[in-house]
């Protein structure tokens, strides 16, 4: 039987090489009985709003069942929900290889979105806390 095709999006800001990211993505794609058809990535300097993916989305359905990302953390915290929603609106599934997440439809999305927000916001907050404490050490002592 022909496997369904996924459009792969690696994390272009993450220092792990694309070769290794591709392996991890391909492994998860295989687990969910899909395979990779093509590879894309956002420009690391202009990734807010995922402009590359946004411009590709309208054309993907004719060939692909979904989009597979390397990790939930590659999407901007501010945009992650809207990007997933926009992808699902196009009748495309969403996969995150590192976290082994599959979001097939809006029902799955409602189930998973709290965890997605919690995880990505927690990382952002951790970074902010680090910056604040190094800029103003007295914050920690209070």
């Amino acid at each position: 039987m022909t496997k369904r095709l996924l459009y792969s999006m690696i994390d272009s800001k993450f220092p792990v090489s694309s070769r290794i990211q591709h392996k991890i993505i391909a492994e998860f794609a295989s687990e969910v009985d899909c395979k990779i058809g093509f590879y894309g990535a956002e420009d690391p300097e202009f990734f807010m709003g995922s402009p590359y993916l946004a411009s590709k989305l309208p054309d993907l359905l004719c060939k692909y069942s979904g989009v597979i990302f390397f990790s939930v953390f590659q999407l901007p915290t501010e945009d992650i929900l809207s990007i997933i929603r926009a992808t699902l609106d196009r009748k495309l599934e969403v996969y995150f290889a590192c976290q082994r997440i599959r979001i097939s439809n809006h029902i799955d999305f409602e189930r998973d979105k709290i965890l997605l927000i919690a995880a990505t916001t927690a990382v952002k907050t951790r970074t902010l806390t680090g910056i604040l404490s190094s800029a103003s050490p007295t914050l920690n002592s209070n």
């Binding site: 022909t2 496997k3 095709l5 272009s12 800001k13 220092p15 792990v16 090489s17 694309s18 070769r19 290794i20 395979k35 990779i36 058809g37 093509f38 990535a41 420009d43 690391p44 300097e45 202009f46 990734f47 807010m48 709003g49 402009p51 590359y52 946004a54 411009s55 590709k56 054309d59 004719c62 060939k63």
Partner: protein, 255 residues
């Protein structure tokens, strides 16, 4: 002005240049190997189709099997020792050294791109920088003759710099529109088999949907000065040392 000076001047104006192999033995051997491997793959898949040159790859593949074959070919390429080095003859290497210096890193794994006729998965306008360092050069090697209909298009240095500044100013918000503008203003660079295209990583480039009747097959890899600033890639995984100057070798003795 000597040929080399002329070429270098051209390169500094455009950000890219086209060179021809003086010795094509390395590339000829790779092309033969890949065609043989493609036929082996087709046979294993039970296909009756056989290809006689790489630009016929579309005859034995469809959109669902194309990436499997591509991955198979990439594995073959990179399991073979010194694939990257075999793609540089002395003449091309001389030009690279004149631009980057004698201490050179070369990308370990060569990429292979296959673009079937009318495949909607073209490589849209993008640039390799800043994922790759601005101090690297991309070497693009077609394995078939690429006329304007199936070649890369490139925005030259001035155009790329203009749009980079614009995108920084708008924080990339109008990327969709800018992408079309760049594509419209860029130059399609026909490159024949036996020639290579060398370009700077900050140049915007891409390829349109291949509207020819032949499959485009190309290789690409990057070269960089050993001591120049790195990009975002994991250096250990991405690079291998290609050449060292006598001075660097002498210095290394003390480290």
């Amino acid at each position: 002005m000597s040929d080399i000076q002329e070429i270098r001047k051209d390169f500094l104006r455009c950000g890219y240049l086209k060179l021809a192999y003086e010795n094509s033995a390395g590339i000829d051997a790779l092309r033969f190997l890949l065609a043989k491997e493609a036929n082996d793959y087709l046979r294993k898949q039970g296909s009756a189709e056989r290809i006689y040159s790489l630009d016929e790859l579309h005859l034995g593949t469809n959109e669902n099997s194309l990436n499997d074959l591509r991955m198979q070919l990439i594995t073959t390429l990179n399991q073979k020792e010194n694939t990257n080095i075999s793609l540089l003859d002395n003449s091309i290497l001389g030009h690279l050294k004149s631009m980057l210096g004698k201490d050179l890193l070369i990308q370990k794994h060569v990429n292979l791109v296959v673009q079937r006729p009318d495949d909607s998965d073209n490589s849209e306008t993008h640039r390799d920088f800043p994922g790759n360092s601005a101090f690297e050069l991309v070497v693009w090697v077609p394995l078939v003759d690429c006329d304007e209909k199936m070649s890369l298009y490139l925005a030259d240095l001035e155009l790329s710099l203009f749009y980079t500044k614009h995108l920084r100013h708008t924080n990339g918000k109008d990327w969709s529109q800018i992408k079309s503008e760049i594509e419209m203003k860029s130059t399609a660079v026909p490159v024949k088999y036996g020639e290579v295209l060398i370009f700077m990583t900050p140049l915007f480039h891409g390829s349109k949907i291949n509207r020819s009747e032949r499959t485009r097959v190309s290789l690409n890899f990057r070269v960089k000065g050993l001591f120049s600033p790195a990009g975002h890639k994991d250096s250990y995984d991405f690079w291998t040392v290609y050449s060292l100057s006598p001075f660097t070798k002498a210095c290394l003795e003390f480290l």
